[in-house]
């Protein structure tokens, strides 16, 4: 009995520390989950005369992927997005964050363009409005334009299959 109390305290500490170890401190919970996608109206990467705004992807489940040609992890994630675009399961919109237009275009030319359209956020202000802190980031947006999920970091095939696609299918299945 005398040893039970310290043992209990120790076990509780172990449990808390073990939970702490499984959490990723880099992952900042987004305050946007369940809220409408923040408004913007930006020129497109491919054509500065055309604009892209959240209204353009309303009415469908969509991915918004924040990317940049200077971003190393985006290079790693890119083949997964190109593959996903080929499957035509969900449109992918790009938010080209703090990039040079020529660099962005050259990058898409070289590695393939999975995006239905990319917004060109040269000064990164829209990125800040969307709470972007580490490119790449990917938002899942439902038909009503509500952000349902945010993934920070490069999408791997596992994350796509196990997390993103099930959610996308579920959102596509539910009536808007």
């Amino acid at each position: 009995m005398r040893f039970l109390i310290p043992l209990a305290v120790f076990l509780v500490m172990v449990i808390f520390l073990a939970i702490g170890l499984t959490l990723d401190p880099r992952e900042v919970p987004s305050p946007f989950i369940g809220k409408p996608a923040p408004a913007f109206a930006l020129p497109q990467v491919a054509d500065a005369q055309k604009t892209l705004a959240p209204a353009d992807f309303k009415g469908q489940v969509a991915l918004v992927n924040v990317w940049a040609s200077w971003c190393v992890s985006c290079r790693q994630e890119h083949p997964v997005l190109v593959e996903l675009a080929k499957r035509k399961l969900v449109p992918i919109y790009g938010l080209n964050y703090k990039d040079q237009r020529e660099d962005a275009l050259a990058w898409l030319d070289r590695y393939g363009n999975p995006y239905t359209a990319s917004a060109f956020d040269a000064d990164g202000k829209t990125g800040i409005d969307w709470g972007v802190y580490g490119v790449p980031e990917t938002f899942v947006i439902d038909r009503a334009g509500i952000i349902r999920h945010k993934f920070t970091g490069p999408i791997t095939p596992e994350i796509l299959e196990n997390t993103l696609l099930p959610l996308i299918r579920q959102l596509q299945g539910s009536p808007s």
Binding site: P25, R26, V28, P29, S30, P31, K98, G124, I128, D129, W130, G131, Y133, G134
Partner: protein, 169 residues
């Protein structure tokens, strides 16, 4: 990713045989890093400048999470300092600057999180632990034999005397 200013200077040092040169280069790297983070900001009012400077010390950089916005060299930290500067310079309050950031990045940007149901344990935890330890010590203090209990009863004393006499006799 911009935290790498320091890391790369450390990496350059590896393999060089001169220890003192290591240290000097390392220190130079440290200072080069922090010198970058300081920008000159013009305010039309010294009070605004003080508010701005206090504020960026209280806000966390999301890229280099152990640095405040004031300390961080990250590109994003610079952009966020620009935003905070703009808000303060335009005459809005600190709360409005804080709200701008928490709306986008959540309470995570605050080094001092607000008291909410989810943070109650964070704020009261140390006091609760202190109370628990105090309670524990108090309870165990009472269980310890007191001096009074160590003293012999009359009966015991008589027995002791008898034993002593037996030994002597």
């Amino acid at each position: 990713m911009m935290c790498s200013t320091r890391l790369s200077s450390v990496r350059q040092l590896q393999g060089s045989p001169f220890t003192i040169r290591f240290i000097l280069l390392f220190l130079a790297g440290l200072f080069a890093g922090s010198a970058l983070a300081v920008e000159v900001r013009q305010f039309d009012d010294p009070a605004k400048q003080r508010r701005y400077e206090n504020l960026i010390e209280e806000l966390r950089c999301l890229v280099c999470q152990n640095q405040s916005l004031a300390d961080s060299d990250a590109d994003l930290a610079k952009d966020l300092r620009d935003e905070v500067y703009g808000i303060i310079q335009s005459g809005q309050s600190e709360q409005e600057a804080v709200r701008f950031l928490t709306d986008r990045y959540g309470d995570f940007v605050l080094y001092r999180p607000p008291v909410k149901p989810i943070t109650v344990l964070l704020w009261t935890g140390p006091v609760l632990i202190l109370l628990a330890v105090a309670l524990f010590l108090w309870k165990h203090q009472r269980q310890r034999p007191t001096l009074a209990r160590l003293e012999l009863t009359d009966e015991e004393r008589q027995r002791l005397e008898r034993l002593k006499k037996n030994l002597e006799g």
